[in-house]
Symmetry: D3
Subunit: 129 residues, 6 copies
């Protein structure tokens, strides 16, 4: 049988601590399903959230760009849940419908030319080192 | 035997027309290997370049963001040539080393959590519609 | 229209022979949907079951390890059916919830670092031959 | 260290028997590297060759079509060796340069639209059942 | 929230022009969902349909072969919508159940041996250049 | 141009601290190339090593099983460097040639049946929940 999500009310103190940090950081009333399932592995939950929080924080790249990159990878991997959640995340961070359309167009072209390059067995140009 | 690249000097007028447009658009002295191999299919060369030119033009997303998205897809697909050429393209468009590092970190995390989501069989939250 | 599963009652003698061997080998009352669909290609059914039976038999690796490896591949490929069936198979072979959590963590890290390695274009160390 | 290929001269009788059948079936003087490496697992060599021989034999699909499908998959998976060997195989079976160009174009478009479909989260039409 | 499909009745003249060409070219009463979603990006709709129409037209390869190659890629990428739509497309172009079974068998073998080749790190034979 | 590896002699104190911990934990005289490239992103280096060290530590699964799972994922993703390094890692942890052969056979079968399942659009059995 499939695992069940672990809701806040049923979570251990260790899990609640991570849930609280996610809610505080993202300013949301509840965590999304991914975290409620990952809570079956409390150490993994803590580690994954810690890494994600660090990686997605504003830095040399802004949060919107990071969300769009996350979405580009999720589309390329065909992960339905990830596409839904990161489309929502990117919109929340400011992605307009026009930006979404261009993002998909770039992802589509990249997937096409990646395979053309491999099919034609193109050697790397000296200039690309 | 593997195909050989078609250089400008040996190209048909139809292929040269595309090569000329690539060089003009990108302001480069020669086209990179991808185009020299794709030139074995002149119709495909023309169509692919036409699409790429349209998709990568500045719009709702700027060229640097587009190049970084292209690179994120190429890394996820493990296409060596594409990683080399789009790393060069993104740098030319302004990607700093710090931006590259953060881009890779996001791509890495996305690939990790995409698979965690699928392994835990997480259902889509109602809020993500 | 999508194919329909072929149940034992409607199966040809050739298909029934394979179904009987699956039920006997796995000690189950009925075969799962995969085999009922593959039965549309009787030669493919026979060949695939023959290979799977041989590959998954105890050998230098025990059945639990084999089921977990199968699950790791299925998660990496994002195959929903395969994840469900091999999670069930691994549990039946003895995978505890703690083992599942660690398995997912390893699969997640491997998917992350696989892409980091490719993005950074890391050359193979001489020591790895 | 990487494994070494097992040449005919150094092969066990069981491996030689498979090598002989490959050479006879394909009418070639020696087997290609894939088989010489797989020979490290004699049971796997025998099983894989047996399956491949059966799957690639002429049937409802002709050998050229089968080789081109094999190549389409290999390109989509980015397997360099497989692309090289099945391009050679398809050419031997009659693939012209024009056919190769169209094959690559279809593979490229399929990879592009596969991702667009997933990015736009397109639901399956009732007509496709 | 997920995007909604854009039906003909609600489409802009630019989108209707593409829809009309799809219906005429394929001789169908309505376009399938993919186009109704892609219509959110009118330029992308026009470009993608233009490329697809050109790529899938009869040429050195016949339409059935092209549809089967499209399906082989879609299966390898695990795109559910694409598998459903191109299975329908291939059947309409003449794929029998026996051809479908052999197609799947080739796709399965290719996915298996692609990974064996990579796992054994097989170097490319000189003959494959 | 491609990045250059950062050797211990040229590394910052922050990077050296991570390198030292890797060498101590694995009891090796130097770190492998992956870490020398990732050192271009000191925060990413520290985070990735911290996660990997935690994930690969003995727990409910032993180190050999974890290395073989890592290898199974790397083969499925076609990451050459990762295949080389984790084959070495698995051997060091006790993987025999027979175990490697069976591991590859399972990875191959899983990649084959994953795609067959998707191509036949097999619905999940009620029993698998």
């Amino acid at each position: 049988m499939s695992l069940k999500p672990i809701d806040y009310a049923d979570a251990s103190p260790q899990v609640r601590e991570v849930f609280d940090d996610i809610k505080r950081t993202r300013n949301v009333p509840d965590v999304n399903n991914f975290w409620k399932y990952l809570a079956h592995d409390p150490a993994g939950l803590k580690r994954t959230w810690g890494s994600l929080k660090e990686v997605m924080a504003p830095g040399a790249l802004d949060p919107l760009t990071k969300e769009m990159i996350y979405l580009a990878v999720s589309v390329t991997n065909g992960c339905g849940y990830c596409i839904a959640s990161h489309t929502a995340g990117a919109r929340k961070a400011g992605m307009s419908e026009a930006m979404f359309g261009e993002l998909m167009a770039v992802v589509g072209m990249a997937n096409e030319t990646n395979r053309l390059v491999q099919g034609y067995r193109v050697p790397i140009d000296a200039a690309f080192g």
